[in-house]
Amino acid sequence: MRLQNKSFWTGLVLSIVIYAVIQLLIDTGALNDFAESTLILICINIILGVSLNLINGFTGQFSIGHAGFMSIGAYLSAIMTLDFNMPFVVALIVGGLTAAVAGLIIGIPSLRLKGDYLAIATLGFGEIIRIVWLNTEYVGGASGLSGIPTQTNWTWIFIWTLITVVVINNFVNSTHGRACISVRENEIAAEAMGINTTKYKVMAFVIGAFFAGIAGGLSAHMFYIINPNSFNFIKSFEILVIVVLGGLGSTSGSIVGAIVLTLLFTFLQDFPEIRMIIYSLLLILMMIFRPKGLLGTREFSFNFLGKKGEAK
């Protein structure tokens, strides 16, 4: 079982150390607000990247509507805290579960569609969600919701990032996760081996959408304001880029991708005029020279810390 795996415990301990160190730095004021919000942004992107990676990287279902799930989580959790005075955790989970239901709905077309067709259908689905928000007066239409209480802090974001990474990593290494990977490798062969491909494809969509919803809720409670246009398909592409940059089918790759891309964006903010030009050029060059992403399908592991004989 994964829980007994040494690498897992090393990772957990290391993450808690990272958490404690950064919390200490924030408390002592060594990290300013800008650095803290960049850290939170990185973590939101990690949640988004890792959850999309489950759908795109591990299950091989080409989805580019992730911002749609994110917006559902953002809106639902914002409504919960604004209009129903729910505690933050409950609001987040409501947002996540609603997004998961949307994942179930979009999972159903995926049973009939493959590759590019699924991609364009999910893109359309994400846009439809955006247009629904745009035309719903209750959530403020085009101007969106504002005044959402700022509740996302380093502790919350860290807990959720850890939960996402642990859950998805363990899922991928479980029997179900292996079944998902077999769907990616060859759907027909997987089916012939008796794997219920329908079940696993939908499962990947539901889990991925749930965490995207959580990320949406976290970001809504971070920036006080949400509007439909911040969840357009360009946002979906951004998440896709994180996944592909890190390496499809590598959880640690998605984490690396999220860190690299967020830092790149933060860095490029100083050059607003040529920001997107540099970004797009990097994107093209990256794909031409390293189409598999930074880590490929490999996982970063802590095995090298142990003795050589124990490694593997």
Binding site: L113, F237, I274, I284, M287
Partner: protein, 300 residues
């Protein structure tokens, strides 16, 4: 009745722009199985080229008809070159890598054109001067149609007929069909696959350029981000008609234009884009090969 007829005419004139862009999508997708996201931005570049050419030529004092024809040709040529350059530099190195890598590259090229456009021309919309003076014609009393709408449809149909001729009657068209059917076999038969793919990009992008000029003439305002939504809609049109099928793109485009106008005219104009995507999903779920496509079973 007259109201519906009027809306039908408006819908067809919107739809013919979608159809022109969709033709390029369909050709490129048919040959290298890539959703060329940058296609909508080539359309944008075409509109700007048309604007500059028409300004330049009008200042020279040419007659409006010649200004229109020359501006259209200029935009088409620039876009054709642009399409080939994009294909050679960005897509060709990725021909044997994963589909997702190619798609991300296409998105990258699209961002590059959009933001390059903003950098060079500024983000503000630019007015597109009226090249040909508009004449209103009255049909059946109150139904109006203006000369621009007729022109758009005529240009679309002419270009589509030319395209159909190229694909079915010429040597390069035969090569295109061969490459789209089986790239490796085509290579073995002595077809220059690279040249053929470049030619496809050139023709598809030229059509997008033409659509850009026509778009500018219809809406009188163009900006560097204008390609995004028409680009997506044209892809919907291509899927609607059956991707890879040339008459399908025309019918899909016209149909989408008419449906959109119908949605707008019944007072749901804010839902217009949503309806387009809903149609896309429904078509994909119930008839993934499009209205004109045949279902091909995947072989194990």
């Amino acid at each position: 009745m007259e109201y519906y007829l009027q809306q039908l005419i408006n819908g067809i004139s919107v739809g013919s722009i979608y159809a022109l862009i969709a033709l390029g999508y369909t050709m490129v997708y048919g040959i290298i199985k890539l959703i060329n996201f940058a296609h909508g931005d080539v359309f944008m570049v075409g509109a700007f080229m048309g604007l500059f050419a028409s300004r330049f030529l009008s200042a020279k004092g040419l007659s409006p008809v010649w200004v229109f024809i020359l501006a259209l040709l200029f935009a088409m040529i620039v876009c054709a070159v642009l399409g080939v350059v994009i294909e050679r530099t960005a897509y060709k190195p990725l021909r044997n890598s994963t589909r997702i890598a190619a798609l991300i590259t296409a998105i990258g090229v699209s961002f590059l054109l959009e933001n390059g456009g903003i950098f060079v021309w500024g983000a503000q919309p630019k007015g597109f001067s009226e090249i040909l003076p508009k004449h209103q014609f009255n049909l059946f009393g109150t139904v109006q149609i203006d000369s621009n709408q007729i022109l758009i449809l005529v240009v679309t149909v002419i270009l589509m007929v030319v395209l159909q001729y190229i694909v079915h009657r010429t040597k390069i068209g035969k090569a295109m069909r061969a490459v789209s059917f089986d790239q490796d076999a085509a290579l073995l038969m002595g077809i220059n696959v690279n040249t053929t793919i470049s030619a496809t990009f050139a023709i598809g992008s030229a059509l997008a350029g033409a659509a850009g000029v026509i778009f500018g003439m219809t809406y009188n305002s163009i900006d560097p981000l204008m390609g995004i939504i028409p680009g997506l809609k044209a892809f919907v049109a291509a899927v609607l008609g059956g991707i890879g099928i040339i008459p399908g793109a025309l019918v899909g485009g016209l149909l989408l234009g008419v449906i959109e106008t119908a949605v707008s005219s019944t007072g749901f104009s804010l839902w217009r884009d949503g309806v387009a995507f809903l149609i896309l999903i429904l078509i994909l779920v119930f008839k993934p090969s499009g209205l004109f496509g045949k279902n091909v079973r995947e072989k194990v």
